[in-house]
Symmetry: none
Subunit: 226 residues, 4 copies
Amino acid sequence: MDKAVRSRLFTSALRVVFMGARERRERDREKRREQILDAARKLLLKDGLARTSVNRIAKKAELSVGTIYFYFANKEDVFAELQREGLGILHREILSRTDGIEKPDRKLEACARVYLDFSEENADYFDVINYFLSQPRIFFTNGVKKSIDLQGAKVLKHMEQIVAEGVRENIFSEPRPANFAAFFWASIHGLVQVKKLRGTVIESESYIDFYLYSVNKLIDSIRRHQ
Amino acid sequence: MDKAVRSRLFTSALRVVFMGARERRERDREKRREQILDAARKLLLKDGLARTSVNRIAKKAELSVGTIYFYFANKEDVFAELQREGLGILHREILSRTDGIEKPDRKLEACARVYLDFSEENADYFDVINYFLSQPRIFFTNGVKKSIDLQGAKVLKHMEQIVAEGVRENIFSEPRPANFAAFFWASIHGLVQVKKLRGTVIESESYIDFYLYSVNKLIDSIRRHQ
Amino acid sequence: MDKAVRSRLFTSALRVVFMGARERRERDREKRREQILDAARKLLLKDGLARTSVNRIAKKAELSVGTIYFYFANKEDVFAELQREGLGILHREILSRTDGIEKPDRKLEACARVYLDFSEENADYFDVINYFLSQPRIFFTNGVKKSIDLQGAKVLKHMEQIVAEGVRENIFSEPRPANFAAFFWASIHGLVQVKKLRGTVIESESYIDFYLYSVNKLIDSIRRHQ
Amino acid sequence: MDKAVRSRLFTSALRVVFMGARERRERDREKRREQILDAARKLLLKDGLARTSVNRIAKKAELSVGTIYFYFANKEDVFAELQREGLGILHREILSRTDGIEKPDRKLEACARVYLDFSEENADYFDVINYFLSQPRIFFTNGVKKSIDLQGAKVLKHMEQIVAEGVRENIFSEPRPANFAAFFWASIHGLVQVKKLRGTVIESESYIDFYLYSVNKLIDSIRRHQ
DNA sequence: CATGAATGAGTATTCATTCAT
DNA sequence: AATGAATGAATACTCATTCAT
């Protein structure tokens, strides 16, 4: 083996080691963030926002408080991330479960079903979203709010397109699809929130019947009558 | 005078004295409770839920902290009382502002307007209601919970009656007025909650336009089409 | 012993007990305040303002943090009290040690000596005063500042009166005694502060000589020359 | 070529290479130090002493925290350097602003004015100086302390020379110019410190009037009376 | 040489609640 | 029945410093 070869080998070996180190670090960082978010999510869902402090997150994540602040600028930032995550999942879910459906009205119904399912199957994420929505007054700084709203907007945009599609196909009659999408979402959100009152205030036989009854009323309100 | 007579006389005399004292005590106790609730309410309306602590209530009421805990088991108990108050205000407001209206559809619209107004003008009462409603676990004693539910049920019942009225007058078509009332309320609750997103997710020109647009869609969904 | 007497005795006994309790409580409160101030003073002088936190004061005083805040509204309030105390002692000291002296110029010199002595014998209190004087920018809220300044003003007022006396006796010539008093105090304060530099920047044989040399220069500056 | 010769040649060759490298390294090191001090200075002037942390210096300097600790043992060490800078600025300022002035009494007055201006215009440098001066214990390594004292001594020396000059010119009468310089500086330092009390303790119309009134009294105290 | 992740004690202040009197 | 002193854990966030890589 001559010098040149040896040198080249050495260099490449070094590169591998260095690349590996940098990559590993990056991966470690991502892992730490996830570790923190996991702890935060668990606490939030177990004890509620009020009792989810940075100190408790740190303890749960088996990290120091300082470390939390190394990875996140704020307590706010931690929760914002969780909300973005949740909205992302919701969005993908909606996309995949409206994909095979032809008729726009069925698509809207599917959206509503996905929302209810999401609130049950991803109860944790739903609660995070719900938490901030039902929080009295502002909690997020503007920048963070914008970024969350953007994720939320994706969901709404999808519904809006379904409505527009229905209008084109002469199934729906609605001059402002965006408005209806917002209305639709606000309503099903309220309906899902109210689920916990079944048996007392909501007397209906079964909640799912009540939910679908309501969703259909919502869809009917833009259905074109011949 | 024999012993028995003397005894009876004595007992009845005692009763008179004790009744007076007991009644006075009762009245004093009620006065103190009111005094505490007054202070709590004032602080709630001035500083919001988060900044209304027992210590501050005590200072405001010119009583000691210990006294607060003599009359209320918890901080939550104080707010539970306020929530009942809030629901009472909402109920009376709805009654009075639907009173002069003839047409059931206008009445429903008025209900929705009252709800929005209440969330703005009595923002702190609204927050208290919302706080306890979006809380996952129950921490009220059964009696307290029942009494709150009762107040809430009154509101729904009133809406149900409006729907039933509309059905009788052939303006609405709805086989289950109670269901629709619940749906209506859940929807407008969601719509009010979503107000904080105006400007980002809710793009509509003005929130009130969006709100009324939505409320009318809701009412349209049970309107009889000729 | 008849009933009336017994009743009166009982009442008076009760009063004694109650008075005692109230008084004892008052004394306890004063004792606690002193306890807190003692701890605060010790820490301030040992570790400096920056390291004198409420938590440390509490630990030193063997009390809980909450208790500190029960007796003082602020960290600021604690230190303000210390400063007031110190200024009070200084004032009394100046009064007593200028009392027997006839000549105004000797009186002023005595003031300066008291200030130096105070900085040595009550080094702790002097340091507290000095600490806040040498603190960059504001530390106290307006109300507190006013109250401290009032104590300080007493000291200055006394010096001003000495100057005015000297003017009346034709020993001093100074149209604005208040101005001179402030100047005099500022100067001797600076001189005392600079004591720690003796041996390096201040080369003079003995510090006390340097101090008296300076004080006499100050007094000479208003002495009437015949 | 014997071993010894080879060795000597090798050593000298090495030295050449190393000297170059060492020098470059030295220059790099100096550059890094400067880079750190620049950042520290900027933060100090922008946010004040309290908010200038090592982490923030590192961020500002676009270096890692570790690097700061490679070049400076302490946070204090960084500020010690800045203090030297501050004293240097003060010295140069005094030199330049007494330069054109003829009369020694006017020169002294100018010194006093420079001191006041410095405390205002270079408030943060003044704070650093004051901070270390009013600190009770020494925490500088001897070398650092010496170097600071030297800078401070330069300022005093200059004042002493002005006094001596005045004595020679028969304007001043002062057997110990060094003593007076120290006295003068201690006094104006006290006067500047006391500025924050204007409006309460210092009642004078305007602080600057009070300051100049005082400075003139100081100068008068060594002025030869004919 | 340089990095930057990690630490954990530290900050002032608030809080619901207890309990001896 | 009422008081009010006392608690101490809790809050979000910062800091100087260390150390493996």
